[in-house]
């Protein structure tokens, strides 16, 4: 343990004194304050905060990721290249201890810098409202939609498979299917029909209503607020692009089953533009004690169009589930996991590759991981023609890559969404405990058996 620590501290000294880390630190020290002053977003306080935190964290994450890759590779390859390792590895230290020491050093350095800079971002974000002359409404908006960690509930999925099945059978019987869906594979036809049926369930004609029922609505503060967030799609755009609506939020069962004594449903009347996210606030007490909540939407007869709530994010119920601080810490943890993975990856690459090659490989993998969603989707799409080869080889390799884009902290912090501990734990298990550990084990095995000395005759 002592020798691991000796190697670790030496690694940190190396990174700092060889000015590798210093460049990154300088960049951040300069860029963060500049960002804090220059970002404006959409000229509201909330927009400004969102832009700053999003860009600040992304920049910190990007630079520290690069630093993790570069330092972890540099520190091992330079020792082998410049042969300081001859005098180190012949001391009473096992090879795995040497490598672990290197990794520990890199991680300590990265963790330290991450804590430093995320603390700076946090402080700047928290103090921004005090130093800007924002209107009260903007302060409230920032408080409700940014300095919070809101849980978002989407309406439960509607099962339309039987309807789709029947519709297809009907089409096949009548023989229309060939004409209507010419040139489409059965899979695509099913997908299209499913989409249509689902949208139908989320559209309301003029004078009609829609009802969504939610479970597990448990706001942190029962005297606080719930938020309903929505976006309209319309079949005919109204002249003023506005949709008139009436809403009822609360325990619908008391009307449905004639129960007595509950909190009455909360009525809301609104006029909102189409195709834009809007949200309104209702008191949290309207949610039933067992976590039940219903949202009724009534398409006002003043309208001339039927209203559709898009599938992905047409309607959500939001409520504050945790504080901004806790959410921010979890977001930083996600970045830390990334760094651990990349440090392990760099260590592995450095055990058998020279510096430039290892850097190239790691950067390629890093950028692939950063757009992994796209990569996986496109490969899945392409793979239909080469299923067997793909699904047994490449697919698993791609799955081995971590999905940095999927677990991007900004996607949670910018809209003030709850980043739950369970998600953090899942990322920890998959990205660190499985993938990073696997890389580390490979690195240790390779390093333990390789020849350290260069071949000189």
């Amino acid at each position: 343990m002592r020798s691991i620590w000796a190697v670790a501290t030496n690694t940190i000294k190396q990174a700092l004194r060889m000015k590798v880390a210093l460049i990154f630190v300088l960049l951040l020290v300069v860029l963060l304050p500049v960002m804090a002053l220059s970002t404006t977003g959409d000229y509201t306080l909330k927009g400004r905060l969102q832009t700053f935190v999003s860009y600040g964290l992304s920049l910190t994450s990007l630079l520290l990721c690069l630093l993790a890759i570069i330092v972890s590779i540099y520190t091992v390859t330079s020792e082998i290249e410049q042969r300081q390792i001859y005098t180190v590895i012949t001391k009473p230290i096992r090879r795995f201890q040497f490598l672990l020491g290197k990794l520990l050093g890199v991680m300590l350095l990265n963790t330290g810098l991450l804590i430093l800079f995320s603390a700076a971002i946090y402080t700047i974000a928290v103090y921004t409202p005090r130093f800007t002359k924002a209107a009260d409404s903007e302060l409230i908006e920032a408080e409700n939609e940014f300095f919070t960690a809101r849980n978002a509930l989407a309406p439960p999925e509607v099962d339309v498979s039987t309807e789709v099945f029947e519709a297809i059978q009907k089409l096949q019987k009548s023989g229309d299917i060939e004409q209507i869906y010419a040139g489409m594979s059965p899979k695509e036809i099913v997908a299209q029909l499913t989409n249509l049926r689902k949208l139908a369930k989320r559209s309301a004609d003029v004078g009609h209503e829609l009802i969504w029922e939610f479970e597990n609505v448990r706001p942190r503060d029962p005297n606080g607020s719930l938020f309903v967030r929505f976006k309209y799609q319309v079949s005919v755009t109204p002249p003023d692009s506005q949709v008139y609506s009436r809403w009822l939020v609360g325990d619908y069962r008391q009307y449905k089953y004639g129960m007595q004594g509950g909190v009455p449903m909360y009525p809301v009347q609104r006029k909102d533009p189409v195709r834009e996210f809007r949200e309104f606030e209702v008191p949290a007490v309207v949610a039933a004690e067992d976590g039940y909540l219903a949202v009724l939407f009534f398409n006002d007869p003043l309208n001339i169009t039927s209203v559709i709530f898009p599938l992905e994010d047409g309607l959500e119920v939001l409520y504050k589930a945790d504080t901004f601080t806790a959410n921010f810490i979890r977001a930083v943890l996600l970045i830390l996991f990334r760094l651990i993975f990349l440090a392990c990856l760099g260590t592995l690459a450095s055990t058998f590759l020279s510096f430039p090659v290892a850097i190239l490989l790691c950067l390629a993998l890093f950028s692939t991981a950063s757009v992994s969603g796209f990569v996986i989707e496109s490969f899945d799409y392409l793979s239909e023609s080469l299923t067997a080869v793909y699904s047994y080889s490449l697919k698993w390799l791609i799955r081995l890559l971590p999905q940095f884009d999927k677990f991007n902290p900004s996607t949670y912090l910018v809209p003030g969404r709850l980043l739950s501990w369970s998600l953090v734990a899942r990322v920890l298990v998959f990205m660190v405990c499985i993938k990073a550990l696997l890389l580390l084990v490979f690195a240790l095995i390779i390093f333990s058996f390789r020849e350290i000395a260069r071949i000189v005759v």
């Binding site: 002592r2 020798s3 620590w5 000796a6 190697v7 030496n10 000294k13 190396q14 004194r17 060889m18 410049q82 042969r83 300081q84 390792i85 001859y86 005098t87 180190v88 590895i89 012949t90 001391k91 009473p92 230290i93 096992r94 090879r95 020849e451 350290i452 000395a453 071949i455 000189v456 005759v457």
Partner: protein, 412 residues
């Protein structure tokens, strides 16, 4: 009997990309280095000396064969804790200062802070870099870097010292110092394996040598046996008169032999050192390494080694009468500044005021990998001499002294 270093048909073949054998760097090398011996591995450039050392230390894997250091694998921490290694060039961390460098290596050995500190100061003093101890080693000249490399190899007070071209880049004083050091260590029962192509160095210090060419041993044996010209005799006298020389020549002629008479030359080395020492006495300033002929305090006396013999040989600072204590010429300034724990240790070592016969019976070394019988006799003789010389009056703590001694002589 167990050797300090032993190789069994050690072979290293470097193959090309296709796996075809290309070069036999080391070919079927069988080497035995006895304990407490200074062994020189000689050979021209590219004869496989360094490759052999690297296989010994586990930096390269042998294609065939096996190498054993101190009775085990050199990559085993228990073994490598007792080895000091100086590679063919000093590969140092350029961003660390001299002191930090040594501290780092000391920590790799798991040495305590105080032991580390004491040894680092002693070593810096010995290699003459105390004045530049806080300068990054990246700014050092080759010779200065070499000195740090040497200090690094000695920080654990190794039982086996492996030196690869120890004198390259060093000035004559440094070279001389290394030679002195090697001899001192050998006297203390350590083993030194050095490889070099500077023949003069090897000749001065080595007990046995092996000459390597093309990865194979071409000759090996005692230096004396190999070099002595048995068909010639040399007589050295004080400056005698010409008439006396004539007489000697006549006697030689009677034996039917030829005789050449001349005044012996000083070795250039001796002359050089004398000159520099004289300059130093006039306190000339230098920005380089301060050349000293000191040898690290703990290397010659202080004993953290497990070996009870080493402990006995060493002298406690607090107790030994100074006249007897100092081995010979070197008085090291660091000695008075030694920290407390070491004094404690030394006190423990100050041990037995045993009557001589008891000591004579004792056979040291319950430690599994310690020295084997013949060398022990050699060393023990020294011990006995030293004990007889100075340990008689020291019986302050008889209860304490008996115990560890009895324990260590268990297999007598």
């Amino acid at each position: 009997m167990e050797y300090a270093v032993e190789t069994f048909s050690l072979t290293k073949i470097f193959s090309d990309w296709w796996g075809r054998a290309k070069v036999y760097a080391v070919d079927d090398l069988n080497l035995q280095v006895q304990r407490n011996e200074v062994f020189g591995l000689l050979g021209p450039n590219g004869s496989g000396k360094t490759t052999a050392l690297k296989m010994l230390l586990g930096l390269l894997h042998p294609t065939k064969g096996k190498a054993i250091c101190l009775g085990g694998d050199a990559t085993d921490p228990k073994i490598s804790a007792r080895i000091g290694f100086l590679p063919e060039e000093s590969y140092l961390y350029r961003y660390l200062t001299a002191r930090e460098t040594l501290d780092f290596y000391g920590r790799l050995f798991g040495l305590d802070r105080q032991v580390r500190k004491m040894r680092i100061e002693a070593l810096l003093d010995m290699v003459g870099l105390k004045a530049v101890a806080n300068r990054p080693v990246g700014t050092f000249s080759k010779g200065m870097a070499r000195r740090i490399g040497l200090a690094q190899a000695l920080i654990n007070d190794p039982d086996l010292l492996i030196l690869d071209e120890p004198t390259t880049g060093l000035d004559p004083i440094g070279t001389r110092q290394i030679k002195d050091l090697v001899l001192k260590l050998a006297k203390r029962g350590k083993t030194v394996l050095l490889c070099s192509h500077l023949l003069a160095d090897v000749e001065d210090v080595c007990d046995r040598i092996a000459i390597l060419y093309g990865g194979k041993i071409q000759a090996k044996g005692q230096v004396k046996d190999l070099l002595q010209q048995t068909h010639k005799r040399q007589i050295t006298t004080d400056a005698i008169s010409d008439s006396a020389v004539e007489k000697i020549k006549q006697i030689v002629r009677l034996e039917n032999a030829e005789c050449v008479v001349s005044s012996p030359m000083h070795k250039l080395e001796t002359f050089f050192i004398d000159t520099v020492v004289a300059a130093q006495r006039q306190a000339q300033r230098t920005s380089g390494a301060v050349s000293t002929t000191k040898i690290g305090d703990f290397l010659t006396r202080e004993t953290v080694s497990e070996n009870i013999l080493d402990k006995l040989v060493s002298t406690p600072l607090s107790q030994g009468p100074p006249a007897e204590r100092a081995p010979t010429e070197k008085v090291v300034p660091a000695e008075t500044a030694e920290p407390k724990p070491d004094e404690r240790l030394l006190g423990k070592l100050a041990e037995p005021a045993q009557p001589q016969p008891v000591v004579a019976d004792a056979k040291p070394g319950t430690k599994p990998v310690e020295t084997s019988v013949p060398e022990q006799k050699l060393v023990k003789k020294d011990v006995l001499d030293e004990l007889a010389g100075r340990s008689q009056p020291k019986t302050e703590d008889p209860g304490q002294t008996d115990k560890p001694y009895a324990g260590d002589s268990g297999d007598a």
